[in-house]
Amino acid sequence: MEIREDLTPVRRRAVILLAAVFLIFGALHLRMAQLQLVQGLHWRRMAENNRLRRLPLSAIRGRIYDRRGEVLADNVPTWNLLLFPDEARHLDRTLLFVSSLGVEDAATLHRRLDERGIDRLAPLVVGENLDWRQVARVRAHQSDYPELSVVAGFRRHYPLGRDTAHVVGHLRLASREELDADPDLDPTSRVGATGIEALAEPFLAGRPGQRWVVVSAVGRQLGVVREESSAAGRDLGVTLDARLQRVAAAALGDRHGAVVALDPDSGAVRVMYSSPSFDPELFSGSLSQRDWQAVAEDPDHPLQNRCLQGTYPPGSTIKPFLAVAALSTGVVTPDWTVRCSGGITLYGHRFRCWQRWGHGVVDLTRSIEGSCDVYYYQIGQKLGIEGMAAWLGDFGFGRRTGIGLPAEADGLVGTPEWSRRVRGSPWYPGEAVSVSIGQGPVLVTALQLARGYAALANGGHLVTPHIVVDPERARTVDLELDPAVLAEVVHGLDLVVHGEHGTARSLARLPIAGKTGTAQVIRLQEGVDSNDLAPNLQHHAWFVGWAPVEDPKVVVALVVEHGGGGGSIAAPVAGTVFSAALSNRDGGHGALPPGE
């Protein structure tokens, strides 16, 4: 057996170490006794006077300016009412008081309280946009309800109101998914819902911050524990022209429809107005269920942006594109003529010209000037539906323009293949005849038409319409058109306004080239006059064109829903917009901002 070594020294050191530990334990215990037994009351009183609150610091959203610096979207200071539910001694009484202010009813408050997350330090926003009387009442009862707090906030304000409601857009409350995905958002955060507000959301939105503060038992702030400051969003300049937008809105008046104006060279959007409009500030505060239903269920669909969501038959405004197609492919020459006697029989069916007594002998330019249907029935036959569809596709029809605004419509260019695949029914040859005058299975938006005419005006370049200048997205496609072909068609469009038979002769005083269009909602029976139709079956009236003819600065596409004749209804409205645009340029407002 080995001799045990002497462990006494190490044991002695171990005991010394343990003794030291127990000595310190004793000291700690004495300190506990001091805190809890001697000073207990003192600390308990401190506890009652000691509330930590987490205050959300909302980030100021960036302003939106038009091309001249006029404000389209602004922030105005407002008062909001916060409730810290866990501090309330009698929550029911507090909720009763809040509902008596008239900001929210008690049932809604109870529901929102139940839906609240687990963050006990964060407040519930129980009222927004308080008026001064409500603020005064809360302040007067502050000591009764220290859990209520009035804080300054911001509300979105749109100076042009209804005139820019669709294009500038409005805000909405963040959705549940967005709240889950982004911890910076809280249930009262608002994000862009439509228009530029949605398009430029990441740019405009700042980053909200928060501040932890200690308040006394009566709600007085004692100190700031921690602060994460908010970062304001960035201001955004857009291509819109507020002055022209107002003119367009006034010119359209009560009529339903859409006006789009573009810079033909860049595709910068100058005007985008849809009628009927709505008050965008309806959405800035908390929107009542009743107000929401009134807007959302309005049979006139005021929330729809007709400029890019409304699709209409283009009617005669499609003719210049088919003229370009026919000349470019060589199926006709400029000198080729047709004798129009008011109609033509194809596939055993009589297709009429709008000019019941006929245009007589018509060449290409005169076919545009007088908008002769018979001429285009024949061109349509020569091009075939596939040929027409391909050329219309080149001019950007049947697909989105890529402007980037939400819910843009594709439009439609019908083909036999489309008919089989989508419609599930065979293609009738007569439909191609309709397409050649912009009726039947062909639907366009005002924005698409404006872009198409911009290509005719700028020498054959298909631009990407945009509201925010973004070099990445602003692609331009050269359609590689023969300048002689374009010159021929442009001459025809010039004659529409300035020729003796032009369908828009009323605008002859203005340097415009353009085209009227009257799009049928239903096919007219023999012997029925269009003026006898019910209002909702009346034709849509189009005018699309640009000015000045030789040096295009602005393209306008305008549709009046159920307006009747393009020449009689749409052209005068467009004329008002054109003259404003032209006087704009001559009015000495200075050079355009760079980068457009």
């Binding site: 045990r4 462990l7 020294p9 171990a14 334990f25 308990r44 009652e48 930590l52």
Partner: protein, 358 residues
């Protein structure tokens, strides 16, 4: 011959774990019930570990120590290379919903290797070379943790080194030199290592009212919570400090304050007694052990646990700066709980293999 495991030690541990679960339950409403469920799972895993490790023969802990130490170091290196970052510290491996903190386990392996090394040599004071070995073994692991950087866990390596040197025995002049060195190192640390927010914490200890709503806020809240517990406490789940208007870390670093507010001086005394009983029984296991290895191993465990208890309570009471050192067996955290239970299992093994009638 083998004895039964120490029931007193087991009783103290179960008592502390019970108090911990009550506290976690009290804050669960604010922090989410899944934390409580997870902690319950960790408690079960910890008790199982304790019982399994208590069955292992004591000399195996000495023989396997180098291997275990190597694995511990490898874990620390691996976490630096592949670990997850949480609040600026690269110190975690995530396995599904569970996270695993290698620095907690490396401390135990360091402790084992130091005890094994000191246990092999015979009596007599340590030479400078031998002392350097102890410092190198502990310092190597601690340095890897410091790189993460995890200041709190790094500091818990300190008692292992100090207690190891103390038990090994150093000439008196060496202690004086070491204290001087510590002072110099402290000065250097203050000037070039500590971040401004850490300095602020230290200054707050010296003057608690220095910044009552800033750096001093947590400690002030902690004192308010403990103090307002009074004699009998406000009842579990009723303390206004713990329920609301309180800062984070109430289930980890400041869990004791929650307990103190809920149960008052009575509960605080009971909990302190439980810790005292636990340390006393570990000390008994050490003093009664019949090998130098057993004595050193048990006392190293006791030193480490005592250090954490003292530093955490010192912090909660406002005597020491907030460093992120948790209260063993009490604060929320799976890795810490598991490694503590493992160490206690080793202590039980020492107790079971002691000699009587010597």
């Amino acid at each position: 011959m083998e004895h039964r495991i120490d029931a007193w030690l087991l009783l103290a541990v179960v008592g502390i774990l019970g108090a911990s679960l009550v506290t976690q339950h009290a804050v669960a409403e604010a922090l989410g019930a899944q934390l409580l469920v997870r902690q319950l799972m960790w408690v079960c895993a910890g008790m199982l570990t304790l019982l399994v490790l208590s069955r292992i023969r004591l000399d195996l802990y000495a023989r396997l120590a180098p291997v275990v130490y190597g694995v511990g170091l490898a874990g620390l290196v691996a976490v630096l290379l592949f670990g997850d970052v949480r609040s600026g510290t690269r110190g975690w491996f995530a396995v599904g919903p569970l996270t695993f903190q290698p620095s907690e386990f490396a401390r135990l392996s360091t402790l084992l290797v130091v005890a094994a090394w000191l246990g092999r040599r015979s009596g007599g004071r340590l030479s400078i070379r031998e002392a350097s070995v102890v410092v190198a073994l502990v310092g190597g692991a601690a340095a890897l943790v410091a790189i993460e950087p995890d200041l709190g866990v790094t500091l818990t390596y300190l008692p292992v080194a100090v207690a190891g040197l103390w038990l090994g025995g150093l000439p008196r002049w060496t202690w004086i030199a070491l204290v001087l060195l510590a002072v110099v190192a402290g000065g250097v640390t203050w000037n070039s290592v500590l971040k401004p927010f850490q300095k602020e914490r230290v200054l707050t200890v010296l003057d608690p009212e220095r910044d009552p709503y800033g750096a001093g806020y947590q400690v002030r809240q902690s004192k308010i919570a403990i103090g307002s517990g009074g004699f009998a406490g406000q009842g579990v789940g009723h303390g206004s400090q713990s329920l609301l208007r309180y800062l984070p870390a109430q289930h980890t670093d400041f869990a004791f304050a929650v307990w103190a507010e809920a149960t008052g001086f009575v509960g605080v005394t009971a909990l302190l007694l439980a810790y005292a009983l636990m340390l006393y029984r570990i000390g008994m296991a050490g003093v009664l052990a019949d090998t130098r290895h057993g004595v050193v191993l048990a006392i190293l465990v006791a030193s480490w646990l005592a250090f954490q208890v003292i530093v955490n309570l010192g912090m909660v009471l406002g005597w020491l700066p907030t460093t992120g050192i948790t209260l063993p067996l009490f604060s929320y955290g799976g890795s810490s709980l598991l490694s503590t239970c493992a160490a206690l299992g080793v202590v039980q093994s020492i107790w079971r293999h002691r000699l009587v009638n010597q």
